[in-house]
């Protein structure tokens, strides 16, 4: 029906019979387009949107995920969320983690990308090495670093009598998050370095030469020439790093299991453990809804602020 209307709107000034066959052809083409798109949209709704709506629905119930019956409890789960200390702690941990991860990943990646973009020997080899962590399983990298933190570093600390290295950082409730941060940064930089590098390669060399003649120093060159050109890459990288770090999960499974205590329980890890094994299906669904709203706000805010900065420059 829709396609019919569109064809009527189509200004075709050909004879009537040819218009008819054209219309038939057009109908066939539109049918094909609908057949391409509609099944995918249905599947996407069934396996992505529908579960999300279900999650919102269950967040107003007291279902534990196993019983056959449950009751509506209104906003009770949401009210309890704000009182629950483990939920509060998971938000504090996740945000502390995401802020540090976002900043560190971007500074380190940009520094390495600038180095790789300089006139160095073996650039392609080093580029390949720095990108390597991106193709490795996050979980397995977590297991490897788990061993490094629990065995190798304390052994080195004892051997060379460096007091603060002798304790396993992952066993310390105050510092375990730093261990996870190190692994996250180690792996996330790979992708961001390559992105920054491709951004840096779009800076025309003539600009540097001209500013060099004008007597600008390296630092001024960076802020006046390089940074404005790679600002869009900074936006992508910042959003990506924050989004990934807010979702941190695999590293926690591999390294701390959320501990010691609940010191490194991230939001997604809490939803997983509480919701699937802990009988808090409805409660953690509410947590998921809040988490979704928070991520939406942050994403929109980041894009707005960072894009505005790009324009100002």
């Amino acid at each position: 029906m829709k396609s019919d209307q569109l064809i009527l709107n189509n200004p075709q000034s050909s004879p009537a019979d040819s218009a008819k066959s054209k219309k038939k052809k057009m109908n066939e083409r539109m049918t094909a387009y609908y057949l391409m798109v509609i099944p995918a949209a249905v599947l996407f709704f069934a396996f992505h949107t529908f579960p999300a709506i279900q999650g919102i629905y269950y967040s107003f119930t007291n279902w534990n995920g196993m019983n056959l019956d449950y009751d509506f409890v209104g906003l009770k789960n949401y009210i309890n969320l704000f009182k629950d200390t483990s939920v509060r702690d998971s938000y504090i941990f996740t945000f502390k983690f995401a802020i540090f991860a976002g900043i560190l990943v971007n500074i380190i990646s940009l520094a390495i990308a600038i180095g790789l973009n300089a006139k160095i020997k073996g650039r392609n080899f080093f580029r390949a090495v720095y990108f390597l962590p991106n193709i490795l399983s996050v979980l397995i990298v977590g297991f490897i670093f788990n061993y490094v933190f629990t065995n190798i570093i304390p052994n080195l600390g004892e051997k060379y009598h460096i007091e603060f290295l002798t304790k396993n950082i992952l066993g310390n409730a105050d510092f375990a998050w730093i261990g996870i941060l190190i692994v996250f940064v180690w792996q996330s930089c790979a992708f961001n370095i390559i992105l920054y590098l491709s951004g840096l390669q779009t800076v025309p060399n003539e600009l540097y030469e001209a500013s060099g003649l004008d007597g600008a120093n390296r630092w001024q060159q960076f802020w006046k020439i390089t940074f404005p050109v790679i600002a869009p890459f900074f936006t992508i990288n910042m959003v990506l790093a924050m989004k990934n770090s807010l979702m941190v999960f695999d590293q926690i499974v591999a390294m701390t299991g959320g501990g010691p205590g609940t010191a490194t329980t991230s939001i997604s890890y809490l939803i997983y453990t509480g919701g699937l094994a802990g009988g808090e299906f409805a409660f953690q669904s509410a947590n998921g809804v809040i988490y979704f709203i928070v991520i939406m706000i942050i994403s929109v805010f980041q894009l707005k602020v960072l894009q505005k900065r790009e324009m100002d420059m």
């Binding site: 798109v37 949209a41 991106n134 399983s137 979980l139 939803i271 669904s285």
Partner: protein, 272 residues
């Protein structure tokens, strides 16, 4: 004016790359030692290569079964993703002036902002109720969830292909399907490479989705097996690291040969 090699930066970059390479060296070193040698030093170069760590790890974790599961899931996800997602994107891209299609585009792409944990709990119930808590269901979810990102990538690319190419094929009597498979799909090769690489890396390395979806331990993928066998590995780190290395090896080997191509593909996907 030709610049000379910048040695100070070269040295800094080389030192920095050690931070990437040392953990990998440690992994290989541990996998090749026996417990006694490991107790003496984890960092020293392995003098006797204890390949039996690998054969034992293959036995303990039933490596070939997990490898087969990972390979099947990755390959089917790859094939179905390339064929279906490009087709959907074509339908959307060529009708962006129509409201329905434009809205569908925003519908798919906006899913990029929805964090998986909000879907996680209900989708576990849903897949097990539908009997999809197995590799088939997992492949389906990868293909469907991949659409958000892939349609974004494909649509941008398809819209840059001149429509005259298609009109010529239509005049020659090609149906819309024929136009897609014979004219458009071959032109998508560079962007298919990008989507293919991203899809493979995701499906091969993913842990969370197999963890919550697969119910039968016989279906476990390689990352899942490493997790499941943590308790069995216990303090036998040599065995554990041999197993880790074998799980990572296929991707690393592919990377060694196609490194330029993979980096290029990933960059193209992100910049679009």
């Amino acid at each position: 004016m030709r610049e000379r090699t910048n040695w100070p930066v070269t040295i800094l970059i080389a030192l920095g790359s050690l931070l990437i390479l040392i953990p990998l060296y440690i992994s290989i070193s541990i996998a090749l030692k026996n417990p006694q040698e490991l107790a003496e030093s984890a960092l020293s170069f392995p003098l006797n290569f204890h390949w039996e760590n690998f054969t034992k790890a293959i036995e303990v974790t039933n490596f070939f079964s997990a490898f087969k599961n990972s390979a099947i899931i990755t390959i089917f996800t790859l094939v179905f993703t390339l064929l279906s997602n490009s087709l959907v994107a074509y339908g959307v891209a060529r009708n962006m002036h129509r409201k329905l299609f434009r809205n569908l585009y925003y519908y798919f792409v906006s899913a990029l902002f929805i964090p998986f944990p909000i879907i996680m709990l209900p989708i576990v119930k849903q897949t097990s109720a539908l009997g999809l808590n197995n590799p088939v269901g997992l492949i389906l979810l990868y293909v469907v969830y991949g659409m958000a990102m892939n349609i974004f990538i494909y649509v941008g690319y398809i819209r840059s292909i001149p429509i005259e190419l298609e009109e010529a094929a239509i005049v020659d009597g090609c149906s819309t399907w024929g136009v897609f498979w014979r004219v458009i799909f071959p032109l998508l090769t560079p962007i298919n490479a990008t989507v293919g690489i991203l899809t493979c890396l995701w499906a091969w390395n993913d842990f969370l989705l197999p963890l919550v979806i697969l119910s039968d331990s016989a279906d476990a993928t390689l990352p899942l097996v490493q997790y499941v066998f943590q308790t069995e590995f216990g303090a036998d780190y040599n065995l554990a690291f041999a197993s880790y290395l074998m799980a990572m090896a296929p991707m690393v080997i592919i990377y060694l040969f196609a490194q330029k191509w993979i980096i290029g593909g990933v960059v193209k996907g992100a910049i679009k």
